[in-house]
């Protein structure tokens, strides 16, 4: 009798040890582990192929700071069960309107950035409200509709950018005098408005403190929001809408609120991106922003109805890290300038991988 007891104890120990290892791997996720190891390998290889480690790290941090807010914009809608925000271009358009208006109104320097956020806000709220109303009509098919909404909004704005009565000579086509250019330089406006703030330069390492700080504040805001009564209701709606309804939560209102929040974050996100990148890109450009953001959050470990700030940070870092590092390293290895091609291949590869993963985790 005694013997058997001891035996089970041993098995127990064994089990729980293996259990901890397994659950640690599981909670971090095997695919993420592989991607992280790959990224690490790139960082290790970099010095050997002649790329400075710190320059590479700075590049990655920089791209992280441009993109993180756009990825954060996924969180509210995921929480309320509206799925992945393929309609991100809508928020981006609000941001672009804010940026162009701010310049048109004659602001200069870093002020344009803050004015752009201010001016983008009413558009984001308006678009978000309409978009939320639409999504509430078609519960269950959100992601497909979101994609359509993104497409139509971008197409419509392609016309509007030409037609709207903008006059600022820095933005309109020189020869015609009307219609906005495809790319508008932000020199003299909000180029590096955040990234330049408190920037730390040590040798080759350069940290865009301001932009990281700004993301930190927004992320903290979302984290805090999810700890409030309304935030709790939002998570519950995403988790089980019937349950939330039976508890007296107005599902449609909570969902609409999440869409407005996501849209506004999208607007702010593109402004943060532009201040780092140095240019405003109009017309078809918003198309290219949604998929990387969606992929990043999925790689970060979010599922269709669960996402945390950690998912955002890890995901953005891994995605942007791979996208910046791989081309540099491979390029230096083959001594041929193919970085742009490789970048496109890698980033689209990541997107495809992330989207196939999505179905795996959905309920």
């Amino acid at each position: 009798m005694g013997k058997t007891i001891i035996k089970t104890d041993l098995i127990d120990d064994n089990n729980s040890f293996m259990g901890t290892v397994k659950s640690a791997v599981k909670s971090f996720g095997l695919p993420r582990l592989i991607i992280s190891l790959f990224l690490l390998l790139m960082f290790i290889l970099a010095p050997f192929v002649g790329a400075n480690f710190f320059t590479q790290l700075s590049n990655t941090l920089n791209r992280f700071s441009w993109n993180a807010v756009l990825v954060l914009a996924m969180v509210p809608m995921i929480h309320s069960g509206c799925g992945l925000n393929f309609g991100l271009p809508l928020g981006i358009i609000a941001g672009l309107l804010g940026a162009t208006l701010s310049i048109e109104l004659g602001f200069t320097g870093a002020t344009t950035f803050w004015m752009a956020i201010l001016l983008a806000t009413p558009f984001a709220v308006l678009f978000g409200t309409l978009y939320g109303f639409l999504l509430n009509k078609i519960k269950g098919g959100e992601m497909m509709i979101a994609t359509y909404v993104g497409f139509s909004a971008v197409s419509l704005m392609c016309m509007m950018w030409l037609l709207l009565p903008y006059h600022s000579p820095n933005m309109v086509w020189g020869y015609a005098g009307t219609g906005l250019r495809t790319t508008i330089s932000l020199d003299g406006y909000f180029n590096q408005a955040l990234s330049g703030f408190l920037r730390i330069n040590i040798g080759h390492l350069s940290i865009p403190t301001g932009a990281l700080l700004f993301f930190g504040i927004l992320a903290l805001g979302i984290w805090a929001f999810l700890h409030t009564k309304t935030g709790t209701a939002m998570t519950a709606v995403g988790s089980n809408a019937k349950f939330a309804r039976a508890c007296g939560v107005n599902i449609d209102r909570v969902r609409a609120l999440s869409v407005i929040m996501s849209t506004w974050l999208g607007a702010v996100g593109i402004l943060v991106y532009e201040q780092g990148f140095g240019f405003i890109q109009l017309y078809n450009a918003p198309f290219n922003m949604a998929l990387p953001a969606v992929s990043a959050i999925l790689i970060g470990g979010a599922t269709v109805n669960k996402a945390s700030i950690t998912n955002v940070i890890i995901g953005t870092f891994l995605f942007q890290g791979i996208v910046t590092m791989t081309p540099t390293v491979i390029n230096s290895m083959i001594h041929m300038d193919m970085s742009e091609v490789i970048r496109v291949i890698v980033s689209n590869g990541m997107i495809i991988y992330a989207l196939t993963r999505k179905s795996e985790v959905s309920k």
């Binding site: 127990d12 259990g19 519950a236 089980n240 039976a246 107005n250």
Partner: protein, 531 residues
């Protein structure tokens, strides 16, 4: 040489993240044998059956140890379809039907009778058309053998729980090659009568050579149909015995390891009669509710302050429609007064604000946030409706979750209702069925309502815990003066707890009698105007 048994478990163990829930389970099952499996909530019954059926949760959580033999051959099913191929069928404790399909479609799913057409002759059987008529026939027949009246063309998502249960059983019955049928608490939502029909068909199956593993908390059922009883406690088999050599009392003792007095059938000398002045707290007039499968046609009913009112009746007659309608979960009409004030229907929020609360019979659908912690499940309604468990910051502008208060109250209910879990942070989906039910009750208690509707409160709860839950309801009623309206398919349970019992039949109240009235009279009322 003796014939090998149909099914044999050898030393099977299972743990979830280091938490051992099954330890060295060994037993055998012969051809045509009915095996009863009993044990307290969380003893590991469903887990054991999930292992046999190859459910994904088992694999995802690290598989199991030990051996399972079917017909003397070692098997290890990686997924349910392999188990099905080997002739094992399972009716789950929680339904596994496809909500968007009709009863017929669910019953013959993947085994649809097909018709060849010219196209399919050319392009292969994948383009065969469905033989709808045959599908209907098969389903009708199998529903017929169960002796119930289910609309076979109704969508599962519109069905009341009782009908879902029958549909699921009907599905298993139509499978031709089935050798072993697992029934995990199939009778939990059925009235005695319906359960009897089911038990009869189980016996018939056994006669045809099908072996059945039958899990239930109604021990009497075990004694009446089973050949052999396995009693489990905390993941081990504590007793194996022929069913005709034991009693309910003995089984109970083995299950919980101590004597348990039955639910006190002490007659609660109706409070209504004792009290001089009785106050009407709620008055329902000409209520109709459009709840599919549980239609309420015309219900008029007075409810007195501080009483426990039972509502009974056969499945599908409308007893479940009453609370669902009043609480605004299904479209309803008519008038409902609370303390002489009319409350508008079809608005869950208003009901909740007027301190009504409801424990739904549909615990997976409406009752739980399966992916969230117990803390969230128990405190969410009270937080949203009454601003409890919140810290008001900046003068109430920010309502911050008070994690400490949440933990405290959750732990209180875990203790009070002895919910078996690894802690207040465990996810609701990881609890056993009976313990999930307790979470639903705790959630309603946390609301501290004035009027509490509970639908099938003891569904899937073991004998020991049943007493606990019913006593908790009684205590809640006595100490906080809460008016309780309890809807149950078990008449005996209603008689033990309630002051008065209303019987619903054909969507109308066919009578309201004091609880101590003879069961027979209630029986008559139940069938008085069945539709």
């Amino acid at each position: 040489m003796a014939e090998s048994p149909l099914l044999e478990f050898k030393n099977v163990s299972k743990s979830f993240y280091g938490n051992n829930v099954l330890n060295g389970i060994s037993f055998t099952l012969n051809h045509g044998e009915i095996l009863g499996l009993v044990g307290e909530n969380g003893a590991g019954k469903s887990t054991l059956m999930r292992i046999l059926f190859g459910m994904n949760v088992i694999k995802e959580t690290g598989g199991y140890e030990g051996e399972i033999l079917v017909d003397g051959n070692l098997v290890k099913f990686d997924n349910p379809s392999e188990a099905l191929k080997a002739g094992i069928g399972m009716v789950h404790q929680e339904f596994s039907l496809i909500p968007g399909f009709t009863a017929v479609e669910n019953i013959v799913l993947n085994r649809e009778p097909q018709r060849k057409s010219i196209i399919s002759e050319v392009f292969g059987p994948r383009l065969n058309t469905l033989d709808r008529k045959k599908m209907d026939e098969i389903s009708q027949k199998s529903i017929g053998t169960l002796g119930v009246n289910i609309n076979k063309d109704m969508l599962i998502s519109n069905m009341p729980v009782g009908h879902k249960q029958f549909t699921e059983i009907a599905r298993e019955l139509t499978k031709k090659n089935i050798k072993i049928l697992i029934l995990d608490e199939p009778t939990a939502v059925l009235t005695e009568k319906e359960a009897d029909t089911l038990l009869k068909s189980i016996k018939e199956m056994a006669k045809r050579g099908i072996s059945v593993i039958f899990i239930t908390h109604r021990l009497q059922e075990i004694l009446s149909v089973c050949d052999k009883v396995l009693v489990m406690r905390d993941g081990v088999i504590v007793r194996e015995t022929p069913a005709d050599k034991t009693t309910v009392r003995e089984i109970t003792k083995w299950m919980v390891g101590r004597e348990i007095s039955g639910i006190s059938a002490e007659n609660n000398e109706s409070k209504i009669q004792n009290k001089k002045e009785i106050k009407k707290i709620m008055s329902v007039q000409n209520l109709w509710v459009d709840m599919p499968g549980e239609t309420v046609r015309d219900v008029t009913l007075d409810i007195f302050e501080g009483e426990i009112l039972g509502i009974g009746g056969l499945a599908g007659q409308g007893k479940l429609g009453i609370p669902n309608g009043i609480m605004g979960l299904y479209e309803a009409g008519g008038k409902v007064f609370l303390n002489e004030k009319e409350i508008s229907l079809n608005n869950p929020r208003l009901c909740l604000d007027s301190r009504l609360a409801f424990v739904s019979e549909d615990r997976r659908g409406v009752g739980l946030l399966l992916d969230e912690s117990l803390e969230w499940n128990i405190t969410f309604p009270a937080m949203q409706i009454q601003n409890k468990y919140l810290k008001m910051l900046l003068g109430g502008f920010i309502k911050w979750r008070d994690e400490e208060a949440i933990k405290e109250v959750t732990e209180k209910y875990i203790k009070e209702l002895s919910i078996k879990c690894t802690g207040s942070q465990q996810k609701a989906k990881e609890l056993s069925g009976g313990n999930q039910q307790k979470v639903c009750l705790a959630k309603a208690f946390a609301l501290e309502p004035k009027v509490l509707f509970v639908s099938e409160p003891t569904r899937g709860i073991d004998v020991g815990a049943k007493k606990l839950v019913l006593d908790a309801l009684k205590k809640f009623n006595k100490e906080s003066g809460v008016t309780v309206i309890m809807i149950s398919s078990e008449l005996e349970e209603l008689r033990a707890v309630c002051d008065r019992i209303a019987i619903v039949s054909g969507g109308k109240i066919s009578g309201v009698l004091p609880a101590y009235t003879d069961s027979e009279e209630f029986g008559h009322l139940m069938v008085s105007n069945v539709v």
